[in-house]
């Protein structure tokens, strides 16, 4: 009996590599064939959400992030991932990651790769500017470094940060940054906190950094645009997802591959919070799938240690999907091939998605708030902040607009009584 699995994935490099290695799985499971649906992240999210919410049953394996997993699991749209084979070794999963993918202790999605955020900076520029980047910089360090490295005449900008509006774009970064400033999205009554001192400080500093030392067009730069800028050597620093590390150090694609070093996500002086950025693209099985057993086998294969080794044997250790398994980071081969390994691990381990702010919060999630409404709210707020970045409004105005907007949405959603 042949089973065809339909696997929905995002179109990033690691997923595509997996696609290319499918034969390893189908050889082991000759009764299963795999069909891939590869889509760009936003489209995939829309597509998959529609399907799962309407019980469409079009997919057997979904690629979803740490944002969706808890929400969907609560709706009982996902199949609990218990009963994975013994050699799967679920305990090997990084605790921060597996926690983010579990609800009430049950794993609902298997992490394919994980990421946190960190500072990537150009050693050559730092050296030339005569600064040394601490292992764990504060925002003041960042600002000083950015100032020192900026050389606009030669199109070198001290710092590149996300500016394109979107809950997964500028708001991911800004939420993490705000966390590190001690800010929070909501208080325990779900009241938005954009009128707080902390948010004000975070946003003001962000704007200050970007307007003085950032590249032109920052208000429409997202991850990809910044990546390109950095790879072309136009950025002194870039604070973003840890996966970027493997791209910027990839000599084939980056002009600055051997001039990059890494530091922890900055914190505000005296604040023990490094943003708590944590994201993991994970594989899950929708409850509407008719082929859950086969799907489970596929997930077990795709997120196994064996798969990591398979990738390593084909494309080298640098290419191994990062951020999911302790064993990978203990592997000396990996450590030596991936200079960013230690920093990545440290960043991920440092992320606490259960309590991302130093203050009390009613929600989980690191650089996002794990409630269904966040995509919309985050994007709307992101628009305000990018307007501020584009110089169209002041930080104060952006914050009060965000405050009003969020209050409105939260009231509508019934959080605020």
């Amino acid at each position: 009996q042949d089973t065809t699995l339909t696997v929905a994935t995002v179109n990033n490099g690691d997923m595509i590599r997996m696609q290319g290695l499918t034969s390893d799985f189908t050889e082991k499971h000759p009764d299963i064939t795999v069909e891939w649906v590869t889509l760009e992240e936003n489209i995939l999210r829309e597509r998959v959400t529609t399907d799962i919410a309407t019980q469409g049953g079009q997919y057997d394996v979904l690629t979803i992030g740490t944002y969706e997993v808890p929400i969907w699991a609560k709706q009982q749209w996902l199949v609990p991932l218990d009963g994975l084979p013994d050699d799967y070794d679920a305990d090997d999963l990084l605790p921060a990651v597996s926690e983010a993918l579990s609800v009430d202790g049950t794993l609902y999605a298997a992490p394919f790769y994980g990421e946190s955020a960190m500072v990537m900076y150009r050693t050559d520029l730092a050296e030339a500017a005569g600064i040394t980047m601490p292992e764990s910089p504060t925002w003041a360090d960042i600002k000083a470094a950015a100032e020192a490295m900026t050389d606009k005449d030669n199109e070198v900008y001290g710092i590149c940060l996300r500016g394109k509006p979107g809950w997964g774009e500028n708001m991911a970064f800004l939420t993490a940054m705000a966390n590190s400033y001690g800010a929070r999205w909501f208080d325990m009554d779900w009241k938005p906190q954009f009128d707080s001192q902390e948010w004000n400080a975070a946003l003001t500093d962000y704007l200050d950094l970007m307007t003085n030392y950032g590249p032109p067009g920052a208000s429409s730069n997202g991850f990809n645009e910044n990546l390109s800028l950095f790879q072309q050597g136009k950025c002194g620093m870039w604070i973003d997802a840890t996966v970027a590390a493997s791209f910027v150090t990839d000599p084939e694609n980056s002009t600055v591959a051997d001039k990059v070093s890494f530091a922890q996500f900055p914190n505000k002086e005296g604040m023990d919070n490094h943003g708590n950025w944590l994201w993991a693209w994970s594989l899950a099985i929708p409850a509407s799938s008719q082929k859950q057993d086969a799907a489970k086998q596929f997930i077990a294969w795709a997120t196994s240690k064996g798969y990591t080794e398979l990738v390593a044997s084909k494309d080298g250790w640098r290419a191994a999907p990062p951020g999911t398994r302790t064993s990978l980071y203990e592997n000396p081969d990996y450590q030596s091939e991936a200079p960013f390994a230690a920093m990545t691990l440290q960043a991920i381990n440092a992320a606490n998605t259960q309590k991302s702010s130093v203050q009390d919060i009613p929600y989980t999630g690191g650089q996002f708030v794990a409630i269904p409404e966040f995509q919309g709210i985050g994007t709307a707020v992101g628009q305000q902040f990018s307007a501020a970045l584009a110089g169209q409004m002041s930080a104060e105005d952006a914050l009060s607009a965000a405050q009003a907007n969020t209050t409105r949405e939260m009231t509508r959603a019934g959080y605020i009584k």
Partner: protein, 289 residues
């Protein structure tokens, strides 16, 4: 021409199209209307309840609502202006006997072949980007500082991209219309001493009036529904500077998965679009005769 006999035949000929479109309109419209009165979030289907007019109220009290309407109008008008004027000019240009006419025509209409999101990506990153776009290179070549298009002129940037995509549509329709312009009328006008400009104003333009009307109407409909380009380039920002009505609905439907709110927005959009259409029909409808 129109006899009773052809009229009854005509009724028969029209029927399939009308019936199909009626179904195509009524079912989704009906369902949308229904949803628009529900509190229905796709991510929380269990909590569905009757909402009354709340969704509508909520939608139009959105702080972006009026700006979005204004942006929608500016976007539509701007693109129409560029595409109609440009389309007429280009259609006349490529209608002339020139060397390589076939190639020129195909080059000119090719932007229409590019999918909107891809077009937006190309423009955003390869043409308009202030650091590595072609415009920036050109600006630098002339010693000017590159314009940060999407931050400084977000709506204009989108208008340019969309106009680039729709210019071929206008061009092609107008070109086809030019094809049926009777040469002898032109000759008669020449004999009547009309210079090229007058021939254009008094003959070519009136001849193309119907085609222009169609371009305007069809494009308006499409342009009211633009969102992919916005999503890819500015995500509606900075602020709401490039948020249009459809993007607002998109935000409700695809980010919030707020089916009720999106439905209400959709209904509002339909009503507004019909306003625009009726207005347009008043303004240019007689050209259809």
């Amino acid at each position: 021409m129109a006899t009773r006999q052809t009229a009854s035949l005509a009724r028969l000929m029209r029927a399939p199209a009308i019936i199909l479109l009626l179904i195509w309109m009524l079912i989704p419209l009906g369902m949308t209307l229904y949803y628009s009165f529900l509190n229905y979030n796709l991510l929380n289907p269990a909590n569905t309840s009757w909402a009354g007019w709340f969704n509508y109220q909520y939608f139009y009290t959105d702080p972006a609502f009026f700006e979005a309407i204004w942006n929608t109008i500016v976007l539509v008008m701007g693109v129409l202006l560029i595409t109609v004027c440009g389309g007429i000019a280009i259609a006349m240009l490529i209608d002339k006997p020139i060397f390589g006419q076939g190639i020129v025509r195909i080059l000119v209409i090719s932007p229409f072949f590019v999918m909107p999101p891809v077009a937006a990506l190309i423009w955003k990153n390869m043409i308009m980007h202030p650091s590595y776009g072609v415009f920036a290179d050109i600006a630098k070549f002339f010693g000017a500082s590159p314009v940060d298009w999407f931050a400084t002129y977000p709506l204009l940037s989108i208008i340019i991209i969309v106009a680039w995509q729709w210019l071929p549509f206008a061009t092609l329709i107008l070109l086809t219309s030019l094809q049926s312009l009777d040469g002898e009328q032109m000759e008669a006008a020449e004999m009547d001493g009309a210079p090229a400009i007058s021939r254009f104003i008094y003959l070519t333009l009136p001849h193309m009036a119907r085609a222009i009307t169609v371009v305007v109407l069809i494009q308006t409909i499409f342009l009211l529904g633009i969102y992919a380009e916005i999503l890819v380039t500015t995500n509606g920002g900075p602020g709401y500077a490039s948020t249009n009505l459809t993007f607002l609905i998109y935000r409700a439907a695809r980010l919030n998965f707020d089916i009720g709110g999106a439905a209400a927005g959709g209904i509002i959009a339909v009503i507004l679009a019909n306003f625009v259409a009726i207005f347009l029909m008043r303004a240019v409808g007689k050209n259809l005769d």
